[in-house]
C-alpha cells in the first residue's frame, strides 16, 4: 500500500495488470484459452492420471462447465441483485426440455443445436419473467419460497404431462450438435469441451461487462438497499426482474448444452439437489464475484464427481471395516449444508473473495481507477 509506483517505471507485472484492466474482455478470453489448454495436459500428471483416463477427464470438464455456467447465472441473481432463487434448476429443466422438443426424433422436429442455444435461453427467460413479475414486487423472502415451489412444480409438470414428455421414462435419442458438417460424437469429448469453453468465455466477458455497467451498479444498489436505490431513480422491480430473467436465460442455455451432450432428458435430473448444489457453489465461491463463483463451481463439481468417488475407493482398499462402509457420496449434501451455514457465519465473502470485497481502506487518491479488477479472470 505504501509502495507508490511511478507510472513510468512500472514492473512488467504491474504493466501486465494495468494492461489487463484496460482490455478486460481480451484478458478474459485469453485466460480461458490458457486454462482450457493447460487442463487437459495437467490431468496427464501422475496423481490425477491414475484416477481416470484423459478422455474421461475432458468429458468431466464439459460437465463441470455446465455447472460453472449455472453458477455464473445464479450469481447474477443471488450475488449481484441479492435475490434468493431456490428453484434455479427449473430453468435448467426448461432449457433441457426445449432442446429435447426442438431437436429430437421424439417430436420429429430438427432445429440445429446452435440456434436452439438461443431459443432455450429466451424461453427460460420468458418463464422467468412470468414467474418474477408477480413475486418481485413483494419482499425478497417471498421470491425465495416461490422459486422453491417453482423448482418443484416444473419437474412435476414434466413428469405428469406424460403424453407430451413421456413422463418418468424421459425423452431419449436427442440429436447431437453439428457444425459445418462436423458431427459431435460421444466417443470424442473434445468438441463438446471446446464448445463449452467458448460459451463460458463469452458468458464471462458479457457478465463482467454487465457488472461494470449502469445496470450492474443498479443491481448492486438494489442488493445493498432497495429503498435508497428507488430513491436514486432506479426502478427496483424492473432491475430485479432483469437479473432474474438473465439468470434464467443462462440456466436455459446450460440446459440446452447439457441435453445435447447427454442426449437424454428426464424429470429426475432436476431435483432440488441441483438448485441447492448451484447455490452452494455461488456461496462458497463468493457471492457477487464472477471468477470466484466460476472457480467455486469447478472445485465443487470436481470434488463431487471425482474426489468423493476416489475417497470411497481409497478407503475400500484400506480394508478397515468402519471406513469401508462409509459412502462419501452419500454425505455430499450434508457437507454442502454444513458448508453453507459455516460460510454465512464465518466467511460470508466466500472462499475466493475478489479484491473488491477484500478492500478495506483504499488510501490512494486515484479516483478513476475504479473498474473491478479484471486480471483475476486469469486465475479462473
Amino acid at each position: 500500500m505504501t509502495a507508490v509506483s511511478n507510472p513510468r517505471v512500472q514492473s512488467p507485472w504491474a504493466r501486465l495488470r494495468s494492461g489487463a484492466r484496460n482490455h478486460r474482455s481480451i484478458t478474459i478470453l485469453l485466460g480461458w484459452v490458457l486454462v482450457a489448454s493447460v487442463l487437459p495436459v495437467l490431468v496427464l500428471i501422475p496423481p490425477l492420471s491414475t484416477f481416470q483416463p484423459q478422455s474421461l477427464w475432458i468429458d468431466g470438464f464439459s460437465n463441470a462447465g455446465v455447472f460453472i455456467l449455472l453458477a455464473m447465472g445464479l450469481n447474477v441473481v443471488v450475488g449481484l441483485a441479492g435475490l434468493l432463487d431456490l428453484g434455479y434448476a427449473a430453468f435448467f429443466a426448461i432449457g433441457s426440455y426445449v432442446y429435447a422438443f426442438g431437436d429430437s426424433p421424439f417430436t420429429n422436429v430438427q432445429i440445429p443445436f446452435w440456434p436452439m442455444l438461443l431459443v432455450g435461453a429466451i424461453i427460460a427467460a420468458t418463464l422467468g419473467l412470468l414467474l418474477g413479475a408477480p413475486t418481485l414486487r413483494l419482499r425478497g423472502d417471498y421470491l425465495a419460497i416461490v422459486t422453491l415451489g417453482f423448482g418443484e412444480i416444473v419437474p412435476a409438470v414434466f413428469l405428469n404431462a406424460s403424453s407430451l414428455t413421456k413422463g418418468t421414462n424421459g425423452i431419449g435419442g436427442i440429436y447431437k450438435p453439428e457444425l459445418f458438417g462436423f458431427k459431435f460424437t460421444l466417443e470424442n469429448p473434445v468438441p463438446y469441451y471446446i464448445t463449452m469453453v467458448a460459451i463460458l468465455a463469452v458468458t464471462m466477458v458479457l457478465l463482467y461487462r454487465l457488472q461494470g455497467s449502469r445496470l450492474g451498479r443498479a443491481w448492486m444498489a438494489v442488493r445493498e438497499d432497495e429503498l435508497a436505490a428507488a430513491s436514486s431513480g432506479i426502478n427496483t422491480i424492473t432491475t430485479k426482474l432483469l437479473a432474474f430473467a438473465l439468470g434464467a436465460s443462462t440456466a436455459g442455455l446450460a440446459g440446452v448444452f447439457a441435453t445435447s451432450k447427454l442426449t437424454f432428458v428426464g424429470p429426475g435430473q432436476f431435483g432440488f439437489q441441483v438448485s441447492f448444489t448451484v447455490l452452494a457453489m455461488v456461496v462458497l465461491g463468493g457471492m457477487g464475484n464472477i471468477w470466484g463463483v466460476a472457480t467455486g463451481a469447478f472445485v465443487i463439481y470436481t470434488i463431487q464427481a471425482v474426489v468423493l468417488k476416489e475417497l470411497n475407493q481409497f478407503f475400500q482398499a484400506l480394508h478397515v471395516p468402519i471406513l469401508q462402509s462409509i459412502d462419501f457420496v452419500q454425505y455430499q449434501y450434508l457437507l454442502y449444508g454444513i458448508a453453507l451455514v459455516a460460510m454465512m457465519l464465518l466467511r460470508p465473502e466466500g472462499l475466493f473473495p475478489s479484491s473488491r470485497r477484500r478492500q478495506e481502506l483504499h488510501a490512494t487518491s486515484d479516483d478513476v481507477a475504479d473498474v473491478p479488477p479484471p486480471t483475476e479472470a486469469l486465475d479462473a
Partner: protein, 328 residues
Amino acid sequence: MTPDFRRIARPLGIGAVALLVEYLLLGTQQFANAMTLGAIYALIALGYTMVYGIVELINFAHGDVFMVGSFLAMWIMTTVFGLVGPVTNLLNLVGLLAIVMFATMLGMGLIGMFIERVAYRPLRHAPRLAPLITAIGVSFILQNIIAVAFGPSPVNFPQIVPADKFDLLGGKIAYLNLFIVILAVVLMIALQLFVGRTRLGRAMRSTAQDREAAELMGVDINQTIAITFFIAAALAGAGGMVQGLYAGSIKFDLGFYVGLKAFTAAVLGGIGNTTGAAIGGFIIAFVEVYATVLGYTQWSEVAVFTVLILVLVFRPSGLLGQQLGERT
C-alpha cells in the same frame, strides 16, 4: 359484551357454514381426510407464521423440523417402547400417545431452540440474504442427517392407533382422524391462551410489534425469540407425530413438500397471524383433497402452488394479515 360476542360468533358462524357446505360436497370420507390434513398443515403453518412474525425470517428448515419430529416420534415408539402394532387397551393407548407426544414436542422444541441459537441468532443483524441461506443450509443438514441415519427409503411408522371407525351421518370416520383434529384444535387453543394470557406471550407480542421498544421495556429479546422457536418446533413435532400415525410411513424429504404447503397456508392466512395460519392450513388441505376427488392427484402440488402465486398477486397480505406495502 355484545360486540365481543359478535366478533367471535360471526367468524365461527361463517366457518361452520363453510364446513357444512364442504361436508355436503365432499362426503364423509373425503371431508375427514381434508380436516385431518388441514390440522397437520395448520400445526406447521403456525410455526412459520410465529417465527416470521417475530424475526421476519422464513424459516426454510421448519418443514424439516416437522419431518425430524415424525422420525423422533417413530424412534421413541419403536426403540424406547418397542411398539409395532395397534395398542388395543384404550388407557394404555392414551397414556402412550401422551408420553410420546410430550417427549417429541420437548425434544423438537429443544432442537428448534438450538437451531436458532447456532444458525440464526449470530446473523440477526447481517444482510437479509444471510439468514435465508443458513436456513436453507439447516434444512439440508436435517434432511441428510435423517437420510444417513434412517436411509433414503420410506420408513414404517408404528400404527399404534387401531384402525377402528365410527359411523357419522351414513359415512365412516376413523377414530384416528378425530383424534388428530381434536389434538390440533386443543394445541391451537392452548397456543392462543399462551400468547394472549401469559407474561411470555405478552413479551412475544410486543417483540413482534416493535423489538426495540420491547427491549426498552425490559423484555429479554433473546429469550423471547428462543421461546418462539421452541413453541414453533414443538408444534411441528406434534404435527410430525400425527403425520406418521396418519400416513403410516415417513421419509427424509417429507418436510420439503409438507413445508411448502404449510408455508402457502401461512401466506394465505396472512403471514404473522396465527388464526390466519390455522384457517389457511384447512383451506390448502381442501384444495388438495378437491384435486384428488376430481382425479388430479398428481397435480395437487401444482394446484397449491398456483394458489400461492394467486394470493401473492391479488392479496399479498393474505386473508387476515396486515398490509405489507409493496413500496417499503
